[in-house]
């Protein structure tokens, strides 16, 4: 029984003149999925232009996949979203944005 997880992602490319915009993606899910799994699926099947960090340390330790979920900073690899739900994703550190959900750590 497939259901939909709906995520709206704040997108911004500082290299273009376009204003930041929110794009909505609907991801088919068999059950709960981590944010990182959802982003992989969007990149692989829906929109290759989405920018996010694909790395997963496998230990919930590195914070490479940190993202703002409904206003709260969480780790993408360890945060499960439910089918039927609607969620918003934004970069965890907008002040050092590279693009979309990717930001610079060292800045």
């Amino acid at each position: 029984m497939e259901k939909i997880i709906r995520v709206s992602i704040l997108r911004e490319n500082p290299a273009t003149a376009k204003a930041p915009c929110v794009q909505i993606y609907e991801v088919e899910a068999k059950g709960e999925m981590t944010i990182l799994e959802i982003l992989h699926k969007i990149y692989q099947q829906l929109d290759p232009t989405i920018a996010y960090r694909r790395y997963r340390c496998g230990r919930r330790i590195c914070r490479s996949c940190e993202v703002k979920l409904d206003g709260k900073i969480v780790r993408g690899c360890a945060t499960l979203l439910r089918p039927g739900g609607t969620y918003s994703l934004e970069p965890a550190r907008p002040s050092s944005l590279i693009r979309d959900l990717v930001f610079e750590f060292d800045k």
Binding site: P14, A15, A51, R54, C57, G58
Partner: protein, 581 residues
């Protein structure tokens, strides 16, 4: 859009015209355990250092994934000689004994260095080290690093931060080494992911420390960044590669549920009655493994169960701590002590190992083959050095648990020192512009079609390659399958050259362009791995040749170099008399 060529390389080109090239003495490619240790050593010797890292430093690459294990002699009665003997035998007599000797002799000093950098090791109440006893060790020798590889790297980065000579460039993907006069490298071209532009760096010496090439296989617990960049950069620069067929599988990587698939849980601790007192069970919930064998033997035992139809639903075996010989309270305490991170991570993801069994199976975990080096971390190309997993002759056919982080520290320091000495000796070269190399990379990028047809995107190419390697060059190999795998890869290379397409992107974080360039490297390397696996006509360690099931009496290395083909060579032995005082 269909059929168009990739057009938005203008920012890339413009940038090169901007002359954003940088200059340094030592260029270190890879900012993990080996690379940062090399940087510290080169800076101590007064060199300017640039470290590049494909992702954010400290939060990408293979080091942050490493478990808490670093092998070093620390128990009364134990000795460097025993560490040496354990390694030589455990590696199935394919490890370069000159390198093993250096590793065991310098491990203690490198641990002291790490402590001085603020890295903490678990100690007993009386202040002595509190090591774990892992398979293949005569004495307990696995020091427990607080925070694992991530914690070790954090300490190294804090130390590196004290040297103004060291500049670390995160999100920097090196795609090509450049040479003024062949073959010594004098710089590199990189894609700066922060702005999507191609840039160059000029240097006197290069250290490769990019980690392994696990990402060539469909099932791996290693990082997505582990594409073997450094191995192929070295190959293209003319360096000798060694034993590329030697890939270590890890027995117990979680298969299901998908949210935690690919997470490693240490079998060394599961099956140790002193630690977690658990067991591995087949799909019928029967035991099939006795004692604490080394990784290659555990892999074979698991594989036999799966092949005989006794696997679990998702094709693995069960990790079972629910019947731990220790009892619930002692088990909880042991998990908190030895695997706190993995225990809590899995528990929060809905898998409490005290309550449920979890399905796990073999994944590619570590690549033992790579660039051939000597005791001074020199490759066969003058001015090109290498350290860590990217190198190929330290771990033979079966790396012993805990030796990889030791390797990063011992050979990282050596590579930094060797590169610094080389850089100081080298006559200053007139700075050239690397125009030819830049053009070459630009041609690759411009050659990419622009399309949103999913089957032509880099990602499906990556998947196809990973499936070929898993099927043809995985746990079981035979000549015919390896030849077919080679043909499949050739076909994929042709298709990639003519058809691979990316979605049009402008500016920072050109993810698909990065992936397309990575796939180009991965396809070249996969061909070399298949050739090496075909060439080794014996079974040894993790290289299981179904058509050659026995081991040769006198093991030989598999060497390979551009323009020189593939050949076998002697394993360097060390005179046992040298250990006598």
């Amino acid at each position: 859009m269909e059929g168009a060529r990739f057009a938005s390389v203008e920012p890339v080109m413009k940038n090169y015209e901007d002359k954003q090239s940088i200059l340094t003495d030592v260029l270190i490619i890879g900012g993990g355990g080996a690379g940062i240790r090399a940087a510290i050593e080169a800076a101590r010797e007064g060199c300017r250092v640039i470290v590049t890292n494909k992702g954010p430093v400290g939060r990408s690459g293979v080091t942050p994934m490493a478990m808490e294990a670093l092998q070093c002699v620390c128990t009364p009665g134990d000795s460097e000689e025993l560490h040496f003997r354990d390694a030589v035998a455990g590696e199935r007599y394919l490890g370069d004994e000159r390198l093993i000797a250096v590793m065991v002799q310098e491990a203690r000093q490198r641990v002291r260095d790490l402590e001085s950098f603020g890295v903490h090791f678990k100690r007993k109440p009386d202040g002595r080290f509190d090591p774990m006893h892992h398979p293949g060790q005569t004495f307990p020798r696995t020091l427990f690093i607080q925070g694992g590889g991530y914690g070790m790297l954090a300490g190294l980065l804090a130390e590196a931060g004290k040297y103004p000579e060291i500049q670390i460039l995160s999100d920097t993907f090196v795609v090509k080494l450049c040479a003024d006069r062949e073959p010594t490298p004098s710089g590199a071209i990189y894609l700066d992911l922060k702005d999507g532009r191609l840039k160059s760096v000029h240097c006197q010496a290069v250290v490769l420390a990019t980690g392994g090439y696990e990402e060539l296989w469909a099932f791996t617990d290693a990082a997505v960044t582990a594409c073997g960049d450094g191995v192929i950069l070295a190959y293209e620069a003319g360096a000798k590669l060694i034993d590329l067929e030697m890939v270590q599988f890890y027995p117990t990587v979680i298969l299901h549920p998908s949210a935690i698939a690919g997470t490693l849980f240490q079998y060394e601790l599961i099956v140790n009655p002193e630690v977690l007192g658990g067991r591995l069970l087949n799909g019928k919930k029967e035991t099939f493994l006795a004692g604490m064998p080394l990784r290659d033997d555990v892999i074979r035992a698991i594989w036999k169960e799966i092949q005989s139809g006794r696997g679990t639903e998702h094709g693995g075996v069960f990790i079972d701590l629910t019947h731990s010989s220790k009892g619930r309270d002692a088990l909880t305490a042991a998990l908190e002590k030895w695997q706190p991170n993995q225990f809590h991570y899995l528990k929060d993801m809905g898998v409490d190992l005290r309550e449920v069994m979890v399905e796990a199976g073999p994944h590619v975990h570590f690549t033992m083959g790579g660039i051939a080096i000597d005791e001074r971390a020199r490759t066969s190309v003058p001015g090109l050095f290498a350290a860590g997993e990217v190198t190929g002759n330290l771990h033979g056919a079966n790396r012993i648990s805990g030796n990889s982080l030791t390797e990063t520290q011992v050979f990282g320091a050596i590579a930094g020192s060797s590169a610094a000495a080389f850089a100081k000796e080298r006559a200053r070269l007139a700075s050239t512009k690397f125009q030819g190399e830049i053009e070459e990379v630009l041609r690759l990028i411009r050659g990419l079609s622009v399309s949103r047809v999913h089957s032509l995107r880099p990602y499906p190419f990556r998947q196809r390659l990973q499936n070929i390697m898993w099927e043809r060059c995985g746990l079981e190999r035979d000549g015919e399958g390896l030849r077919e795998g080679r043909a499949d890869v050739e076909e994929l290379v042709k298709k990639a050259v003519t058809e691979m397409a990316v979605a049009e992107t402008v500016g920072p974080y050109p993810q698909e362009i990065q992936e397309a360039l990575e796939i180009r490297m991965m396809l070249s390397l996969a061909g070399l791995v298949l050739d090496s696996a075909f060439f080794r006509k014996e079974t040894r360690g993790h290289h299981l040749r179904m058509d050659y099931p026995s081991s040769a009496a006198d093991p030989q290395h598999t060497f390979l170099a551009r323009g020189r083909g593939i050949w076998e060579g002697e394993v360097q032995r060390r005179d046992p008399a040298k250990w006598k005082k």
